[in-house]
Symmetry: D2
Subunit: 254 residues, 4 copies
C-alpha cells in the first residue's frame, strides 16, 4: 500500500507555466447554451436577467483573481484580462484555466435563483474556456474591439430577427431568409421602417456588452493618515473600441 | 465596427491537441475546500453526504463524456480516465479540461441541496483540475494504485486523528503531535487499544474510495431481436490495486 | 556590468521535457537538397556515394546517442528511434533535436570528401529535423513501414523516370507526363518492356533503404572471464515492414 | 506496400508555431567544446581564428534567415534575434531551431580550414541550441546585456587565469585557487601589478564579443532611378548594454 511505489506517475505531469510578461486572456463560453436558453425561456433577443447573472459570475471571478484588471461580456461569453506581470498560480496554465472556469460556473449556478427567481434551474449549466496569450497592448485593444464589434453585429442581427418572428409573425427559417445577405444599413432601415425601432435607442447593455473594470480607487485612509490603496470593480456599458475608454485607464495595460 | 479588422487576434490561439492514442487522465481537486468543509460543518473524518455528492458530480461528468471509462474519487478529488483512442473535442486540451471542470463544479453546486438538505450552501464551491497523459496501461494501473494507496494513508491518519480529538478530547495540534512519526501499524494499534476501532471494519467507501466503472452491458434487445449494446456506470468501493479488479474489466485499458 | 541584474531573462526559457516512457523519433531531412544534389552532380536515380555518406552521418548520431536503438534512411532523410525509457538530456526537446541535427550535419560535411573525393563540397550542406512522440510499439512499426513504403514508391518512380530521361532521351517534363497516373504495375512493366530492367533485381539498398540496428552483442570477455555486454550498430538493407525483422529483435521495442 | 495505410502516423506530429508578434531568440552553444578546443590547441584565453570562424558561421545563419536582424557571439556561443513580426517557416519551432543549428554547424565545419589552416579538424564539431521567446523590447535589451556582461566576466577571469598559468607558471588548479573569491577590482589590479596588463587595453573583440547587425542600407539605385532597399550585415565589437547602440538602430526592435 506504499504510496511512494506509485508516486512516479506524478512525473508525467508536465510544467505548463505561461510565458512571463505577456497578457493572459481567458475566454469563458456557454456550453450547450442554445438548449439551456430555450429550456429556461430566456427572453429574446436579450434577457436582462441572464445577462446580469453573467455579470455577477464574472465579478466573482475578478474577486478570486485580483490580477484580472478587466473583463468583457456579451451573450453567454466573458473574456478576462490578467495584468501582464501577473504571477497568479505561478502562471500555471491548467490552474488558471480550471479555476476561472470553475469559479464562473459555480457562481452562475449558485446565483441563478436571484436573477431568475421564477424559472427554476433544471440542470447544471456548463461553460468551456480557453487561454490566449498576447505580447503587446495593441493586441489587447484589438482583442476587446473584436469582441465588442462582434456584440454589435450579433445584436443588430438578433434584434431584427426576433422582431420579424415576434412582431411580424415570421417563422425563424423565413426570418433568416429575409436577412440573408443584408448589410448593417439595410438591417437598421428595416428595423426602423417595419418596427419603428431606432437601433441607437436600444439599451447600451445590448449594443455595447458589459465591461468590468478594476479601478484604482484610494478610498480609505489608514489610522495613521496614510492612504491605503484599494480597488473596486466598476460595471460599464460603453464603447471600448475608441481611445477614450483606454486613455483614462492606462493602468489596465500598464 | 468591422469584426474582420480585429479578427487577426484569433490567430494567437494556439493548437493544443493532446498526443493521440494516449490515456488522458483529468484530476479534479477541491479548491479551498478546507474552508468550505468547515463552513458547512462536514462530519469528520468522513462525511457520507459530501462523498456522495462528489460521486454524483463525477457521474454527471461521465454522462457528458462517454469516452470516460472509469473514475476514482476520494475526499475532495476525482480522477477521470478517458479511453486512449478518445477523440472527444478533437482531444483539445483546453476544451477537455474546462468542460470536465465546469461539469463537475456545476453538478456539485446544483445537487448540493439533495445531499445536504439541512446545510444551505453559503457560497459557490470551486475546483481546480489538471490533465495528465499516460502512454501505457501499466502507468494507468499505477496511477489508480497511487490514488487508492493515498486514500488509505489519509483515511487511517484522519480516523485516528479525529478519534483523538472527538473522543479523547485532544486539541488538533496535540493530536498531530501524538501521531507525528508513527507508522501504519502503530496507528492501527492505537485505534484499537484506545478506541476499540478495528480499522478493517470501517466502511469500504472510506478505506477504498469510490470507483466508477463504465460497464459494457448488453441489456436491451432491439425490436428485430438484435442486441443493442449499451453501457452503464457502476459504483464500486473495492480494491483497484490488485489484478482482480482489472482482470475482469479488460475493456478499461483496451 | 552585473550579470545578475539581467539574468531574469533566463526565466523565459520554458521547460520542454518530452512525455516520459514514450518512443522518441527524430527525422532529419535534407534542406534545399534538390539544389545541392544538382550542384554536385549526384548520380540519378541513386547515388551510392551520397547514400553511404548519409549512413556514415547516421552512425555518428548513434554513437553520440547510445539510446538510439535503430535508424532508417532513404534519399536525403534519416529517422532515429530512441528507446522509450531514454532519459538522454533529461528528454529535453531542444537539446535532443539540436544535437541530433548538429551531429548529423557536421558528420555529413566532415566526411563528404571520403565518399565524394572528386566532387569538392561547394558550400555547407544543411538539414532540418523534427521530433515526434509515439506511445506504443505498433505505431513505431507503422512509422518505419510508412518510411519504407515511401522508399519503394519513390524509388520505383525515380528509376523509370530517369530511365526515360537518360536512356530514352525524354525531357524531364515529358517523362513526368508519361508517368502521370500510372500505377506500380504499369511502371514495373514499362521498366521491363522498354528498358529490360527487372525492378526486383535492383540493389536492395535502393529498394529497401538503409536500416541501422543496435544489436546487443556480447563480444568481449573481461579479464576475469565475465562477459562484458557491448553493442554494435549493424547496417541492413532488408524489409522492415513484415514481422520477421522485428521478431528477431524484440529489444528494439522493449 | 501502400504508403497510405501507414500515413496516419504523421498525425502524431504536433503543431509547434511560436506565439506571433514575439521576439524569437535562438542561442547556439558549442557541444563538448572544452574537448574540441583542447584537441585543436586553441590559443588561450582567446583564439582569434576560432572566434572569426564563429562569426563566419553566424553570418551564414543570417544569410539563411533574413528575418534575423542581429546576433551576438562570445566564446563558443551565438545568439540570434528574429524580428518579432517574422513569419519564417510559419514560425514553426522545430524548423527554426533545426535549420539555425544545422546552418551554423555546417558552416563552422565547412570553413574551419580557412581560419585554422594548419590545424586539421579531427572530428565533426557539434552545437546544441534553444529557442526563447520574449514579448517586449526591454527584455531583448536585457537579454543582450546579460550575454555581454557574461562576456566581460568570463574574459576578465580567463585573462588573469591564463596569465597565471602561462606567464607565472602556476598549475591550473592553483590558478583557480588564487582567483577564488576575488572581485573584478582585485582581478584588474592583479592583472596590472603582476603582469603589466591594463584590462581596458585588451582588444574590444575579447571584452565586448562580436555583434552582427543587419543595417538598412539603401546602397543601390535601380535602372529607373528608384532606390532599391537592401541590407548588409555589419560586424561590431562595441558596448550593447548602454542606450547609444540601440538609439541609432531603432529598426532592430521595430
Amino acid at each position: 500500500m506504499a504510496v511512494s511505489k506509485f508516486a512516479y506517475v506524478k512525473s508525467f505531469e508536465q510544467p505548463d507555466s505561461l510565458l512571463p510578461n505577456t497578457y493572459i486572456v481567458v475566454r469563458v463560453d456557454g456550453h450547450a447554451f442554445h438548449r439551456l436558453s430555450q429550456d429556461h425561456q430566456f427572453i429574446r433577443p436579450n434577457d436582462d436577467r441572464a445577462l446580469q447573472l453573467m455579470d455577477h459570475a464574472a465579478k466573482d471571478v475578478m474577486k478570486e483573481f485580483t490580477d484580472i484588471v478587466m473583463a468583457f461580456g456579451e451573450s453567454d461569453e466573458y473574456s478576462f484580462l490578467f495584468r501582464k506581470t501577473s504571477t497568479a498560480h505561478k502562471r500555471r496554465h491548467a490552474k488558471i484555466l480550471s479555476i476561472v472556469t470553475s469559479t464562473f460556473t459555480s457562481s452562475y449556478a449558485f446565483h441563478w435563483s436571484k436573477y431568475l427567481p421564477n424559472t427554476p434551474l433544471q440542470y447544471p449549466p456548463t461553460f468551456d474556456a480557453r487561454v490566449v496569450l498576447y505580447p503587446s497592448a495593441k493586441e489587447i485593444r484589438d482583442y476587446f474591439s473584436w469582441r465588442q464589434s462582434d456584440t454589435h453585429v450579433n445584436n443588430l442581427y438578433n434584434t431584427i430577427f426576433w422582431a420579424l418572428v415576434q412582431q411580424a409573425g415570421e417563422t425563424t427559417s423565413r426570418a433568416h431568409e429575409i436577412l440573408k445577405g443584408t448589410v448593417s444599413k439595410q438591417k437598421n432601415e428595416m428595423l426602423y421602417s417595419r418596427f419603428g425601432i431606432n437601433y441607437n435607442d436600444l439599451p447600451l447593455r445590448y449594443r455595447k456588452g458589459t465591461t468590468l473594470v478594476r479601478e484604482k480607487a484610494t478610498s480609505e485612509n489608514t489610522l495613521d493618515g496614510r492612504e491605503k490603496p484599494s480597488s473596486e470593480v466598476v460595471v460599464l456599458h460603453c464603447d471600448i473600441i475608441k481611445d477614450e475608454f483606454w486613455d483614462g485607464r492606462r493602468h489596465l495595460l500598464e
